[in-house]
Symmetry: C2
């Protein structure tokens, strides 16, 4: 079998980690980096003389007409990234992406296009970093009827909130710390406000429940207003505050309950023990009960593991079928209902929101 030829779109944090895994001494076998597209390719090429054999370009067209078998989209953002993925599929290439925004908005359409083209669109890296939650939900637990997902999906916010708890510092100080470690963007608002987690949760609703959900349909309460006093109040109750993403599906009434919010969780629970940029998820099925997954949710190296795993899946079976999502629109989407804020009751075995509207769901 000839090696898989790979073109990379975007030489940023994730792209750099992917390049390292493909080119350094312990490079993954059967995967060959053949091209890099980046807006600043001219500058970056000079800074990376070791990547001489790679075709650098600032023109996406060069990638589309190249002999690459797979395009790794690590540019991020909705547009033009979504169009690039579409064009790569139309050009007969498989695509591996880390782009949750694109998959949340256009995944249904792009997966259908990929199936029509006989190519693969894989996106393990879009959710949970190295934590293999896309495969767990779409493949490993496909044999269950999933009813609920509760998860920490944003590594930046988790690093900030767990830092406040561990060092009793202010949120501003915790954000600066996360920035200095490379976990947080200059503007961490999309993370704290829940936009990032909403996009990931919307994708999971499609994979787990077969529901078509727009991220903005998901209720969100920002974690930006969590104060040190809140964190210390939770601590006195044996709890700590985490940004949780919650989705449960009642198939009989076609009702989705979905929200992202800071929530007080028991310190020793799966979520309370998730610190720094880690992610964690509790996936509940009608037949298997709760399945937990956790792992590094942010950072280039962790995300690159998911990208490389997807590339190896393509290399192993170039004709593999990635099933398009057969989605329906839920009749009803509920948000928080009567819940006033994140100061919720906690229980020893998980978390529990005091509002009766949600009592049955948690």
């Amino acid at each position: 079998m000839s090696p898989l030829r790979i073109a990379l779109l975007g030489f940023g944090t994730v792209g750099t980690s992917v390049v390292h895994r493909l080119t350094r001494t312990d490079a993954v076998r059967d995967l060959v980096l053949t091209g890099i597209f980046d807006r600043r390719a001219d500058v970056k090429r000079l800074a990376h003389p070791a990547l001489r054999g790679v075709a650098w370009t600032t023109r996406i067209e060069d990638v589309l007409v190249s002999d690459a078998d797979v395009v790794v989209e690590a540019a991020g953002g909705l547009d033009p990234a979504s169009g690039w993925i579409r064009d790569a599929l139309l050009a007969g290439k498989s695509v591996v992406t880390a782009n949750k925004q694109v998959i949340a908005r256009d995944g249904e359409h792009l997966l259908r296009l990929a199936a029509r083209q006989g190519r693969q669109l894989r996106f393990e890296a879009a959710i949970g970093g190295a934590m293999p939650i896309v495969r767990a939900v779409a493949d490993g637990l496909a044999g269950d009827r999933l009813t609920r997902i509760v998860a920490i999906l944003n590594g930046t916010t988790n690093a900030v909130l767990s830092r406040m708890d561990a060092t009793r510092c202010s949120m501003d100080a915790a954000i600066r710390d996360a920035q200095s470690r490379g976990y947080a963007e200059q503007d961490p608002r999309l993370d704290l406000d829940g936009d990032d987690a909403r996009a990931k949760l919307a994708i999971l609703c499609g994979l787990a429940f077969g529901l078509r959900v727009t991220p903005t349909d998901i209720a969100a309460r920002s974690a930006a207003s969590v104060s040190l006093a809140d964190v210390e109040g939770a601590r006195r109750q044996g709890a700590t505050i985490r940004q949780l993403a919650y989705a449960s599906h009642d198939a009989d009434t076609s009702t989705l309950t979905a929200w992202v919010s800071p929530v007080a969780v028991p310190r020793h629970s799966l979520f309370g023990r998730t610190t720094g940029p880690q992610n964690a998820a509790l996936i509940t099925g009608a037949h298997a009960g709760d399945i937990g997954v956790s792992g590094a949710g942010a950072g280039g190296d962790a995300t690159a593991v998911a990208v490389i795993s997807d590339l190896l899946a393509v290399a192993r079976d170039r004709a593999a079928v990635v099933p398009p999502l057969a989605l329906t629109t839920p009749k009803c989407i509920r948000g928080f209902g009567g819940i006033a804020d994140f100061r919720v009751q906690i229980s020893d075995c998980g978390f529990q929101i005091s509002d009766s509207l949600f009592a049955e769901a948690v």
Copy 2:
């Protein structure tokens, strides 16, 4: 696409749960149960009048010449089950099995045969019940270089040890409780002694490290001698006792360290929080760090989720490639070395074995 035609070998605990999922009102679409082979098919057929449309047989030959696309092997035991799997592959059928003993001994050979036949051999149900650890290790984390697996792999032993801790009862009483709940066999020795966990760990060494390991190569210390006094001693240290399966791989020296033993773990750690028949695993990679998975590790319904997930993978892509294992034999396999027993030091963030031989490994 025509539905996938399924023949079941063995109508025991797992087989019954699989049949329920395939035939009850909320049956999984595109999967059709067409045949059941069981030594006592004549008796069981009469007890299940609802399964009239299914071809019951006591002769394996009837299954091999039938029009089934996939054979689900849920008979258990090494022989003749292994021969049945081989014969089904030779007859052009894909195979889904829950049989860790067969995969541990013959998996390498059978996977090669399946690849040669252009058919699939899938075995998610062989390890961890519904916890999708086979996919996590072989697929989702394929993009990392895995270095260590620490896991609770035997639901029966975990139910017994956690019951002793929770109710301060004797091991005999805990075994009787597990038997009454259907978690433990009449003779739970294979579970407590570690034979079951060794078979599962041997399979994981193949998937994670590419190593050919015979279960009996793995050192084991029985949990059968754990006393209530041991459990209470651990409790006084903030710990509890669990049967852990441990494997770490030093690729530079081709050295595998592998053992199964009762170990004192912190009460609030991933393993300490794993109670009843749950399983859990911590998978460590050079690039992604620790990935945790947990879930129902025993019971027919949980195992059936894994079987159905494998069947759906076959149904989705009947030409899918399940890669044969490219295994090498480790130069050196280490067991416990100087560790005297399971009374080990514990640390807050995980577990730690006091012996210096293993200090670097944990």
